[in-house]
């Protein structure tokens, strides 16, 4: 089978399809929709798993994140003896984790306070993050300038801070941030480093702490030793509400536990859960396991795969049968031509190749149209459905391959019929 033969066979197939353009178009609709669903399905599935992957990358697949959550209000109201509402994770919890979690590699307590930062005459709303020197091990921070917090800083409650890149840019503009002093709540903190979050290009949702505490319009984060935060800021927060002042006491907003490998995550979660429920009367914490996000994404992906996959399968099946039907009609119409070709030396094989390539040509054209349409749908899903979608090259190749395979599967029988017609009968056919 040399190139000339392939070319002539395709030319011939193209010609006869072009002769019945409308019929060919209508016949391929099923293939078009089927391929379209395949492309959309793969794009949505890929988008979901990439999003999960990114989330996990940001949060760490071997991390367990325990957040403080405010317990339901009625429980607060019942404790009327004290106006003080004390809840959440404590330093004692963190210590217990150290003592009882054999699988834990790193434990990072974290305290978060919304504040204002001053530099010269500039003022910015910021988040103070009180944490430990090994915080970068769980949060994939890049140190751009200077250094992160050290054990010395923590042990001696130093008034030093590390700022994130965006904040540094806004606060210091042209000045070199290293060595400058930032004023927060009346105290000065010397800048020792500038960092950027590794995954920040992935989106603005780069929050290690539950997003409820992240007020809008926050310029960035300032990392300060947790010991320093404890003595300078205290743990009491007064909130002026409609019914009067509300006093809250929260020690830690978050504790992150990092284990060695991802298969230890679920066991560790179980231990943490037992430990906390023993010492916390109220449900004032929440355990987040990034690995479970992946499972969630897999679930979304599966649902879409089932729905779109069935649409695709049905369309392709119906489309394939339609194509087989049309090809049988074509074979019938061209009985005489088949007889002529057989008389002039065509083998059964040659006839099969001719009709099969015509069918495959038809389905491939349907496939191309389906791919074009199917590439538009994910954009609409992203735009209107606010869902990430990713069209990969391999999904397009797969869709193209499927349309070709449909052509072969449903073209074989008509081609076989054509090849096995008796040449004498065919020549007599009108």
């Amino acid at each position: 089978m040399n190139w000339f033969r392939i070319k002539s066979i395709l030319k011939l197939g193209g010609k006869s399809l072009w002769m019945h353009r409308l019929r060919s178009m209508l016949t391929t609709l099923g293939i078009i929709f089927g391929v379209c669903s395949v492309v959309a399905m793969l794009a949505i599935g890929e988008g979901a798993s990439r999003q999960a992957q990114q989330q996990i990358e940001r949060l760490g697949s071997t991390n367990l994140i325990i957040n403080t959550v405010k317990p339901p209000d009625e429980q607060v109201a019942s404790g009327t003896t004290s106006r003080m509402n004390e809840y959440g994770l404590t330093y004692t919890d963190a210590e217990r984790f150290y003592a009882t979690l054999p699988t834990a590699q790193v434990i990072v307590p974290l305290r978060q306070i919304s504040q204002e930062a001053w530099y010269r005459n500039r003022k910015l709303a910021i988040e103070v993050i009180g944490t430990v020197p090994w915080y970068p091990e769980i949060a994939s921070l890049h140190i751009l300038r200077g250094r992160f917090l050290t054990a010395m800083d923590m042990n001696y409650q130093q008034a030093v801070c590390v700022v994130d890149r965006h904040l540094a840019k806004q606060l210091f503009v042209f000045d070199d941030p290293i060595g400058q002093d930032i004023k927060i709540k009346g105290d000065y903190y010397r800048v020792v480093g500038v960092v950027s979050a590794a995954a920040e290009s992935a989106g603005p949702a780069d929050q290690p702490v539950s997003s409820s505490s992240a007020a809008g319009g926050v310029a960035g984060r300032i990392y300060i030793p947790i010991t320093t935060v404890k003595i300078r800021f205290g743990e009491i927060k007064i909130q002026m509400g409609g019914s009067g002042a509300q006093i809250e006491k929260v020690q830690l907003q978050q504790i992150t536990v990092k284990v060695q490998s991802s298969d230890q995550v679920l066991v560790t979660r179980e231990i943490i859960s037992r430990l906390l429920s023993k010492f916390h009367k109220k449900q004032d914490y929440q355990i987040v396991v990034p690995l479970e996000l992946l499972r969630e994404a897999a679930r979304t992906k599966r649902i879409f795969s089932i729905v779109l996959g069935s649409i695709a399968a049905i369309s392709l099946l119906v489309g394939g049968i339609g194509i087989m039907n049309i090809m049988l009609a074509t074979v019938n119409e061209r009985t005489r031509e088949i007889g002529i070709r057989r008389a002039l030396g065509a083998r059964k094989k040659d006839i099969i190749v001719q009709f099969l390539s015509e069918t495959v040509l038809l389905t491939l054209m349907g496939g191309v149209l389906g791919i074009v349409l199917g590439s538009i749908i994910p954009y609409l899903v992203t735009y209107f459905g606010d869902m990430p979608t990713v069209i990969t090259g391999s999904s397009l190749i797969l869709a193209f391959g499927i349309s070709g395979a449909i052509g072969i599967a449903f073209g074989l029988y008509p081609a076989y019929r054509a090849a096995n017609m008796d040449p004498i009968e065919s020549l007599r056919h009108e």
């Binding site: 040399n2 000339f4 033969r5 002539s8 011939l12 010609k15 006869s16 002769m19 005489r336 031509e337 007889g339 002529i340 070709r341 057989r342 008389a343 002039l344 030396g345 065509a346 083998r347 059964k348 094989k349 040659d350 040449p423 004498i424 020549l427």
Partner: protein
């Protein structure tokens, strides 16, 4: 060595309980370069014979040698090869392929023998020239007269330089004028040494052949020899 040699060739069809013998114990030998006409009433077995000689059909009994090959034992692929390579068909109703133009129609048998594009195109041009259609290479069959279409069919039959040309009523659909033109071309091919078998009802057509074989009920009734020089 003869071109065609049949030994007790027979073809029968089972029609319900009755066996219909379309051809019976048929012995025929045709030497290279002979021009043979076959005549006979309708249903006498002329087309049946031609289909067997053209390897479109397999005999029920007997043997058939084309050149030095026993064709009666061949499988479908081998028969296809013989048809394409050693036989040239000329039909009463031309049987050109409507989607293809003149040159493409002539190329069809060469295409199935895997002849290269350049070579088959050159040969197709020569053959079109030979039958007097050098000016109409890109016309479609529907744009040609009957006589012209039959000339394309003759050119097509010559593509692989076959051993044997088979024509079933080649002038049956044509007026006298174009029929005569076709017969002139057949004469020309005969002069060039081609072996021809022509089925016809027309005595004037038969008169051009060297041998005229008359069939009746699937047997040779008698044979005339026109005595022309080979």
């Amino acid at each position: 060595m003869s071109i065609v040699r049949t030994e007790k060739l027979g073809k029968s069809y089972q029609m319900g309980l009755v066996q219909l013998h379309a051809l019976r114990d048929f012995d025929l030998t045709i030497e290279p370069g002979q021009y043979v006409a076959i005549m006979g009433p309708s249903g006498s077995g002329k087309s049946t014979l031609l289909n067997l000689l053209g390897c479109l059909d397999q005999p029920t009994t007997g043997r058939y040698f084309l050149g030095d090959e026993d064709v009666s034992q061949m499988d479908d692929d081998q028969l296809s090869y013989i048809r394409g390579m050693k036989i040239g068909f000329i039909f009463q109703s031309y049987n050109l392929i409507a989607q293809l133009n003149v040159i493409e129609n002539i190329e069809v048998p060469m295409f199935y023998q895997g002849i290269r594009e350049k070579q088959s195109l050159r040969r197709a041009r020569e053959l079109a020239e030979l039958v007097g259609l050098g000016e109409r290479l890109t016309h479609r069959p529907t744009e040609l007269s009957g006589g012209q279409q039959q000339r394309v069919a003759i050119a097509r039959a010559l593509g692989n330089d076959p051993l044997l040309l088979l024509a079933d009523e080649p002038t049956g659909n044509l007026d006298t004028q174009s029929g005569t033109e076709i017969l002139h071309i057949l004469d020309l091919l005969h002069q060039r040494g081609k072996t021809l078998i022509v089925i016809t009802h027309d005595p004037q057509v038969a008169a051009r052949a060297q041998r005229v074989i008359h069939l009746l009920d699937g047997c040779i009734h008698h044979e005339e020899n026109n005595g022309r020089q080979t």
